[in-house]
Amino acid sequence: MFVIDTILLVTGILLLLGIASSKFSARLGVPVLVLFLALGMLAGSEGIGGIEFENYSLAHGIGTIALGLILFDGGLRTPYRSIRAAWKPAGILATAGVLLTSVVTGLAAAAILGLTNLQGLLLGGIVGSTDAAAVFSVLRSGGVHIRRRVADTLEVESGSNDPMAIFLTVGLIQVLSGEVPLGPALITLFLNQIVLGGVIGLVVGRLAVWVLKNIQLDAAGLYPILATAFGLFAYGFAAAIGGSGFLAVYLAGIVIGNGRPVFHRGILLFHDAAAWLGQILMFIVLGMLSFPSRLLDVAGPGLIIAAVLILVARPLSVFLTISALRFSFREMLFISWVGLKGAVPITLATFPLMQGLESASLIFDVVFFVVLVSAVIQGWTLPAVARYLKLETPAKAEPPVTLEISSLRNVEGDIVDYYVDEDSRAAGRMLKDLALPDGVVVALIVRQDQIIPPQGRSQIEIGDHLIVVLRPGVRPLVDRVFARQEREAECLPEALEFPLRGTIKAGDVERFYDIRLGENPEATLDQMIRSKLGSKGLSVGASIRYEQIVLRVRGLTPTGSIEYVGMMILPLPKEQPVGEETKSALGGPKPEAS
């Protein structure tokens, strides 16, 4: 057996175990990265796997590739909207925030471990950054739903704070090994990292979008590879000339993802897979690299440093840097708690080892321990903390999409397969009655194993698949048409109704809002609602729905007449006139008659 055969066998087994452990993650609420790390430790020299692995430069290599892919994937999925909303707080957290966290943690570590201040600061710099892989996995797939600005801030911060941590680590290592004196040279190093990394990321991203749109490849499978190639190129180019490769690859990903390249969905899917592969391999390798017995040796001081980092340094830097940017106190507490550490610190901790610095192995063990504590405690408790701080927002009703197909050529259109389940608004209605916006064509109805050419009269049944061709812009509207029904009218808080006196005339309301209630304009609201509901149905809370508004009885006088009516205005998509809906549902090429 060649060595590579063994490596493949072991890799295969570890990947299988990694994927299997991800199934437990959801059930136990443990972040996947903890399970992957644990798996690596089990497979390692002190675990049951007994794999001797102590190659720090290989681990650093795998960590770098994996992190590059994870950041690229994260960038591809970050809409400009998130950046616009979050660049300010995220930018400050990613620079000043990291610095502050590092300094506080570092000085504490120096005191606790008896290191010199510079060595302590090196440790602080290594653990200073929030981990993108961990944050993405918790916020995107961990079932935590919070206000979007907070989530955006955390995601953009974690995606862009690695340059700062790398700068601190590399800079301090160079100072410690006597290559660079403390002083202005460090600033140049820092500016090079940010500026070169930033510029190259943006330029390569632009170039990649142009190439992806114009190259006209014959094989669809080449498009994702092309995108990856540009990502790797951005990283390598930036790193080669002294910029931050991680920043470059993240920015390139953002530019490409927002440029709607050809075969967009394919590119996303491919990189989703690549990011997962990267996560599993990286954490398992880093787990194998550690020695649980040595971790136990540093458990005492490690716990104290982790506590300083989690409870003092991160909250302090969050509150000091972004309290002017309109986050509520609870939100800042939450952002403090999401200072998740992950693979970056462990990868960075291999730097001093490779350089053969004094105390490097102590630093590595402590960093590993701190990451473990942070990932387990913070990662595990995140959903609970979000709930406790009352920051959770209800998950949006997901439209039942089962498949998204994209055209290979650069066309502004998506083909989407909607599944109609029993709660869907579309179920049981005729195609022409769906409020589909303009530019949307239902191309096909699939019912069990039959294909039904869609016509206006076609009835949509539960269990149908509708293949819909649409422009990307109208996607949210179409999603709503197929989404699960909400009972909006009943669950709205009464505070958002416009109160109207019961004694005013229906005609006044019609005239004022240019709406038609279809009632006698001389009748008062009281008379109008009374005649609709009947004397039995008349009670506080009873409501009548009109085309554009809902009227709800808010209060009765002691004699039983309606004192106040709440007027609520209904949202737009449902209000399109029926004639237009019919037209647009069949607005595209006519399906062939069978």
């Binding site: 909207r81 616009r84 909303a85 206000r147 979007r148 600005r149 955006d152 309109r326 509520s328 949006k396 709205l492 808080p493 009464e494 505070a495 958002l496 109704e497 416009f498 109160p499 109207l500 006196r501 005013i504 006044d508 309301v509 004022f512 809002y513 240019d514 709406i515 554009q548 808010r554 209060g555 106040y564 009516v565 609520m568 205005i569 209904l570 949202p571 737009l572």
Partner: protein, 158 residues
């Protein structure tokens, strides 16, 4: 419809001084006038029209928010402003609370749909407690402007 489509950013006031219903409406209309969105000669007539709408029922919709609005032939397109009063104004809201946050709208009679859409947008966005609270806490017109932009970018309730 987005806030940017109808809120006149130059007319936003974070420091309303008025302390009763009529004068706060006057102050808000004056802000639209200062921003060049309404004709000075029509000011009193617009105020009267808004007060007439208030007679149908106060537009103080509770939670310290009021949305005074009216149709008026002197405007060519839907215009609106936002005002914050630190101390709050009695606006005869049904819940009895003083109003700190005002959205004032004036719409042309010939664009009926816009009026309703703008009101719907306001009431939908205000359903988000955070948005509502941040608006009331705003100290400068810029803060308010930025919040409205964030709401337009769906950073709050959607």
């Amino acid at each position: 419809m987005k806030f940017a489509d109808f809120i006149s950013f130059k007319a936003i006031r974070a420091d309303l001084a008025a302390d009763d219903k009529e004068s706060v409406i006057s102050e808000l209309v004056q802000s639209l006038l200062d921003a060049g969105d309404v004709n000075p000669a029509e000011k009193d007539d617009i105020i009267a029209a808004i007060l007439k709408r208030e007679e149908l029922g106060s537009t103080g919709i509770g939670r310290g928010v009021a949305v005074p609005h009216t149709k008026h032939p002197s405007v060519q397109k839907l215009v609106g402003t936002v005002g914050v009063s630190a101390h709050g104004v009695d606006f005869n809201s049904l819940d009895g609370e003083n109003v700190q946050l005002f959205f004032l709208l004036v719409s042309p009679p010939e664009r009926p749909g816009d009026h309703l859409r703008a009101l719907e947008n306001i009431s939908r966005q205000l359903r988000d407690d955070t948005f509502c609270r941040f608006l009331k806490q705003s100290k400068t017109a810029d803060d308010i402007h930025q919040l409205l932009e964030e709401a337009d970018n769906n950073q709050f309730a959607t």
